[in-house]
C-alpha cells in the first residue's frame, strides 16, 4: 500500500503576524494570530506602536496647553474629543458657554462624526475589495474637510474649541456650505445603497461575520456602534446629554444580531441622524457671543471629575484630578477603541483569516487612540 509511505497527517498550528504594517489595520496594529490552516485559533492584538504618552504630557502642561493633544488621540474625530475635553474643564471651573458657541460646537462635531464614518465606509469597503465606493465617500468627505478647514484652519487635527466657546465665529458662507453638504449627502444615499448595501458580495462578506452580542459587548466594555448594533440603545448624547443635544431631536439607530452587517447599517443610519442634528442646529443657531470671558489660566477647584461624550467610535471619558493649580494633577482619557479592539481576542478565534479583515474593518478602530 502506497499510503504506508506517507507521513501521518497531524494537526499543525502556526503563527502569523498580521501587521504592524498591513493595509487593513488602519494604523500600526499587529495582530499575532495562531492559525490552524485558514482558521484562527488564538488572536492577540499587540498595540503601543503609537504610544506618545499624552497622559504624562498633561501632568506638566497647563490646561490650555493640553488642548491640541486631545484632537491627536483620535485623529478622525478630533473635534469630538476636543469638545469633550473643553466641556470637562468648563464643568470643573464652572464656565457658562454662550448658546451660539454650543450650537457651533454641535454642528462641527456632527460634521466630524460624518467625516469619520465616511472614511470608515470607504476604507471598509475597500478592504473587502471594492475600490469605487472609497472614491465616492472620499469625494463627499472632502466637502466636510473644506467646511471645517474654513472655520478651524486645519483639515484633521482641529483645535477649534476653546474654554468658554470656540476659536472663531462661523460666517454665512459656512452656513450655506453646510446646508449644501446636507442636501448633497442625502442625494448620495441611493448611490451608496445601490453600490454597497445591496451588493451580494458585500452581504456575503459581512452577514453573520464577527457577531458581538450584548453579553460580549458588556464584558469587554464595548460602546458606540458596536454596542448599538447588538441592540443596546446606549448613546452618551442621550444617556447623559451634554452641550445642547437635549434640545435636538434625533434617534439612536440599533441593530439586532451584532454582526458586521448590523454595524455597517447602524453607522449609515447614524450619518442620517447626524444630518438631522446639523439641520436643526443650523435652523436654531442663535446670535450672540461665541466665547465667554475666561481667565487667562483656568484653575479648577480640587477634586476629581469625569466627563463623557460620544465620539464616532463610542463613549469617550475624561477623568481629571485637579489639585487646585492650573496644571492637571492627573488626566486619564477613556477611549472607546480600547474595548472595541480588545473584543477581538474573543471574536476572532474560530473565524477565517479572510473574515479578520471584515471584522477588523467593521469595528472601526483608530489605533493611535488606543495607544494614546
Amino acid at each position: 500500500m502506497a499510503n504506508e509511505f506517507l507521513e501521518p497527517i497531524t494537526e499543525q498550528t502556526f503563527y502569523l503576524n498580521m501587521g504592524p504594517q498591513h493595509p487593513s489595520t488602519h494604523g500600526v496594529l499587529r495582530l499575532f494570530l495562531k492559525l490552524d490552516g485558514e482558521y484562527i485559533v488564538e488572536a492577540d492584538p499587540i498595540i503601543g506602536y503609537g504610544h506618545r504618552g499624552h497622559e504624562k504630557m498633561a501632568e506638566s502642561h497647563l490646561y490650555e496647553q493640553f488642548l491640541p493633544n486631545t484632537s491627536r488621540m483620535d485623529y478622525l474625530a478630533g473635534l469630538i474629543l476636543n469638545h469633550g475635553y473643553v466641556a470637562a474643564v468648563e464643568k470643573m471651573v464652572g464656565i457658562e458657554v454662550p448658546p451660539r458657541a454650543e450650537y457651533i460646537r454641535v454642528i462641527c462635531a456632527e460634521l466630524n462624526r460624518i467625516s469619520s464614518h465616511l472614511l470608515w465606509f470607504g476604507t471598509y469597503v475597500m478592504d473587502l475589495g471594492g475600490f469605487t465606493p472609497f472614491l465616492y465617500s472620499f469625494d463627499d468627505r472632502e466637502n466636510i474637510l473644506d467646511i471645517l478647514d474654513r472655520v478651524s484652519g486645519s483639515r484633521l487635527t482641529y483645535s477649534y474649541c476653546r474654554f468658554g466657546g470656540v476659536a472663531r465665529d462661523v460666517d454665512d458662507e459656512f452656513i450655506t456650505a453646510t446646508q449644501q453638504f446636507v442636501e448633497r449627502l442625502r442625494s448620495r444615499w441611493d448611490d451608496y445603497h445601490n453600490l454597497v448595501t445591496k451588493n451580494v458580495i458585500f452581504i456575503h462578506r459581512a452577514k453573520d461575520v464577527g457577531v458581538i452580542n450584548r453579553e460580549l459587548a458588556m464584558r469587554f466594555g464595548c460602546t458606540g456602534p458596536i454596542l448599538r448594533a447588538a441592540g443596546v440603545p446606549y448613546d452618551v448624547r442621550k444617556a447623559e446629554p451634554y452641550s445642547v443635544y437635549s434640545e435636538l431631536d434625533f434617534e439612536i439607530p440599533t441593530g439586532s444580531k451584532g454582526d458586521a452587517l448590523d454595524r455597517y447599517i447602524v453607522r449609515l443610519q447614524e450619518m442620517e441622524q447626524s444630518l438631522r442634528i446639523i439641520e436643526q442646529a443650523l435652523e436654531r443657531l442663535p446670535d450672540g457671543a461665541i466665547k465667554a470671558a475666561v481667565p487667562h489660566k483656568v484653575r479648577p477647584p480640587r477634586g476629581d471629575y469625569y466627563f463623557a461624550v460620544e465620539s464616532a467610535r463610542g463613549a469617550v471619558g475624561f477623568y481629571i484630578v485637579s489639585d487646585g493649580t492650573s496644571y492637571p494633577y492627573r488626566l486619564k482619557a477613556r477611549v472607546p477603541s480600547y474595548g472595541n479592539l480588545q473584543v477581538l481576542t474573543e471574536v476572532l478565534p474560530g473565524t477565517l483569516v479572510a473574515d479578520t479583515i471584515s471584522i477588523l474593518g467593521s469595528i472601526d478602530i483608530v489605533v493611535p487612540e488606543v495607544d494614546r
Partner: protein, 157 residues
C-alpha cells in the same frame, strides 16, 4: 438596572459608611466607594450582577501611595460609580479579569504605567510600552511633572 439596584447589590459587600454619594451635576459621578484592596473582586461582582459595564481602570500616584480607580456604568440608566482603592507603595490588588474581560487590558496598562501588580492576572505583560521597559512612567517621580501631592492635599482626608 437603575442606580438603586446597583446600590442594593453593593450594600451587600461594602459598609454603608464607605458608600459616599457624589454630585453628578458637579463632577459627573453618582456614587463613590472607598474599597480596600481585598474588596475589589466582590465590588466588581456586585456591579456585574447589576448589569453594569466597566468603563475604565486607572490609577493616580500620591505621596502616601497610589490609588486605583475603577469606574462602572450602566447602559440603561446613568449610574456611574467610582471605586477608589488606596494602596500603600508596593501593595497589589486582586485582578477582576475573570469578571470583566475588559479589565485584562486596563490592568496591564495600570501595571506598566504605575507598577501596581494585579494578583491572579493571567497575562501581566506590558501593553503600550516595549516588552523590556524597566520604568513606570506615570509615577510622579518619573519625568517632568508639575506637582507630587498627598491625598490630603486634594481630597482633604
Amino acid at each position: 438596572m437603575s442606580l438603586e439596584g446597583l446600590k442594593e447589590e453593593l450594600s451587600k459587600v461594602v459598609e454603608p459608611g464607605d458608600m459616599v454619594p457624589r454630585e453628578y451635576e458637579k463632577d459627573g459621578c453618582l456614587l463613590e466607594i472607598k474599597a480596600r484592596a481585598g474588596q475589589v473582586e466582590s465590588v466588581a461582582k456586585a456591579a456585574r450582577e447589576a448589569d453594569c459595564f466597566l468603563e475604565s481602570i486607572t490609577a493616580v500616584d500620591f505621596t502616601n501611595g497610589p490609588q486605583v480607580i475603577y469606574q462602572f456604568n450602566s447602559c440603561t440608566s446613568i449610574s456611574r460609580v467610582l471605586v477608589r482603592v488606596q494602596l500603600s507603595r508596593g501593595e497589589s490588588v486582586v485582578s477582576i479579569g475573570s469578571i470583566y474581560d475588559a479589565a485584562l487590558w486596563y490592568e496591564r496598562e495600570v501595571f506598566e504605567l504605575f507598577g501596581i501588580r494585579f494578583d491572579n492576572h493571567p497575562d501581566l505583560r506590558r501593553l503600550l510600552l516595549p516588552e523590556d521597559a524597566d520604568f513606570y512612567p506615570l509615577l510622579k517621580d518619573y519625568g517632568k511633572v508639575h506637582a507630587f501631592r498627598s491625598t490630603e492635599d486634594i481630597y482633604g482626608e
